[in-house]
Symmetry: C2
C-alpha cells in the first residue's frame, strides 16, 4: 500500500494510465487539464524496472526523454575530470528526472537506482508531438524544470552552513518530500549510504556519522543503520533558523 507499484504488469496493461495512477497529482500530469492527461497517457511507457545499482541512464548517452519514478529511489551523479563521483541529487517516488539531457540532447549526469525502481518514461520525440497538440504540457515541463532551479538555490544556501546544519536540513528535506508523497514523515528508510549523503552535502562520510551520532545524543532522532525516526522535529528544524 505504501508502495505505489501495484500489479497490472500482467494482462490488463492499459488499465493503468496517468488518469488513474495514484501519482497523477504529483507526476508529470500535475496541473494539466483532464483532457490533456488522456493524451499524455497514450504516449508514456510504463512499468520500466531497474534493480539496485543499475543505471537508468548514463552520462554521454543520448537524451531519451523525461522519467517519472513510481516507486523506489535513485541518485543523480556527475563526474569530474578525474572520474570522481558527485552526487547531484536524490530522486524519490513521484519525482521527475532526465532534465540534465534536454538542453544538449545528451545526458551529462548518470542516474542510478538506489533500490529497485519502477518508472514511467515519456520519450523525447513525443515531447515535441505533445508540444504541438498539447501546449499545456510544454508549460508544465518548463515549470518543473524551473522548479529544479529553485531547489538548487536551496542547495547553495546549505553550502554556507555548518556540517551539523547540513545534515539536519537534509533529514528534514527528505522527510518533507516523503510527506508530500503520502509516506510517513517521521519514520523512514534512508536508501542511500553515509558516503552518498556526505558526497551530496559536501562533507566527509565520517562527519556524517559523527553528526548523526550527535543528533541521537541530543534525542532529536534515532537511527538503526538505515532506518531513521525523527523524535523532535521542532528542535531539528531550529537549525533552519540558526
Amino acid at each position: 500500500m505504501i508502495n505505489s507499484t501495484t500489479s497490472n504488469s500482467s494482462t490488463t496493461e492499459t488499465a493503468v494510465t496517468c488518469t488513474n495512477c495514484n501519482l497523477d497529482n504529483l507526476c508529470i500530469p500535475k496541473g494539466l487539464p483532464r483532457s490533456e492527461i488522456g493524451e499524455l497517457a497514450l504516449l508514456v511507457n510504463r512499468n520500466n524496472i531497474r534493480q539496485k545499482g543499475e543505471a537508468i541512464y548514463h552520462t554521454g548517452s543520448p537524451f531519451r526523454g523525461i522519467i517519472a519514478l513510481r516507486s523506489g529511489s535513485a541518485k543523480l551523479l556527475s563526474f569530474d575530470q578525474n572520474g570522481n563521483e558527485l552526487v547531484v541529487d536524490f530522486i524519490l517516488p513521484g519525482e521527475l528526472l532526465g532534465f540534465d539531457g534536454l538542453s544538449s540532447q545528451t545526458h551529462n549526469c548518470t542516474a542510478i537506482a538506489l533500490e529497485t525502481v519502477n518508472y514511467c518514461h515519456l520519450p523525447a520525440y513525443k515531447i515535441e508531438i505533445l508540444a504541438i497538440n498539447t501546449p499545456g504540457l510544454s508549460q508544465v515541463l518548463l515549470q518543473r524544470s524551473c522548479n529544479q532551479f529553485d531547489a538548487q538555490v536551496q542547495k547553495m544556501m546549505l553550502n554556507r552552513r555548518s556540517a551539523e546544519e547540513r545534515v539536519a536540513c537534509f533529514i528534514l528535506h527528505i522527510s518533507d518530500r516523503l510527506r508530500i508523497r503520502g509516506y510517513s514523515e517521521l519514520e523512514f528508510r534512508l536508501s542511500m549510504s553515509r558516503e552518498e549523503i556526505g558526497n551530496y552535502l559536501g562533507i566527509a562520510h565520517e562527519t556524517v556519522s559523527r553528526i548523526i551520532h550527535l543528533l541521537q545524543a541530543r534525542k532529536l532522532i534515532t537511527v538503526k543503520s538505515k532506518q531513521l525516526k525523527i523524535l523532535n522535529k521542532k528542535e531539528l528544524f531550529s537549525f533552519h533558523t540558526t
Copy 2:
C-alpha cells in the same frame, strides 16, 4: 562597439528587432527558425534601462517574464532566514534571467544591476501565446532552463575544490562566457566586488584577495582594481584538472 547597446532608442524604435540584433544568435531566438523569430520580435519589449545598484526584479514580486541582458551585467540574489545575501549567479550580456519566477509565478530571487544595464523583456502572458502559435519557442525556453541546470552541476563541482581552484575556475568561467559573446577573453573588467565573488564562491572576501594576490605572484594574471588580464591561461586552466 564592444557594447551591444547601440543607438536606436530614439526615433526608429522598430528598426531594432530580434532579427537584426547582434545578440540574435545568443539570446532567446537562438535555435529558432527565422520565421518564428519574427513573431517573437513583435512581443518583446526592448531598451529597458537600470542603473548600477537598481533592481530588475525583487524576491516576492510576481513573475513578469523572461529577461535578456543586452549590455551590462547583473547579480542574482537569494536571501536566507536572517536576510543574508546569497549570490546565486552573475549574468553577463546576452544571457537570460528570470527563470526563478517561472515555476511559482513569484520570483524567489532578486536581480540587481552591477552596472548600467539595457535589457529586453518577454512578458509572461506572451510566453503562453507563443507556446500556442510558436511551439518552437517553448522548446527553446525549456532548453535554456535546463541549461541552467547544467551550470548548477558545474557550480556544485566547484564546491568540492579548494579556495584557490574556485577563484581560478571563476576567472576562467567569466573569460569563457565573455569570449562566446565576442568580448576579449584575456582582458576584462570584473564588475562585481571581492565580497560578491566570495559570496558566490562560498569563501570569505579576504580569501579572494589573498588568492588573487597569489595568482599575480605566480604571473598567471595581473589585476588593477577591477581590471583583470590573464597572462597564462594554460596554467590557470591546470586547476581544472588538478
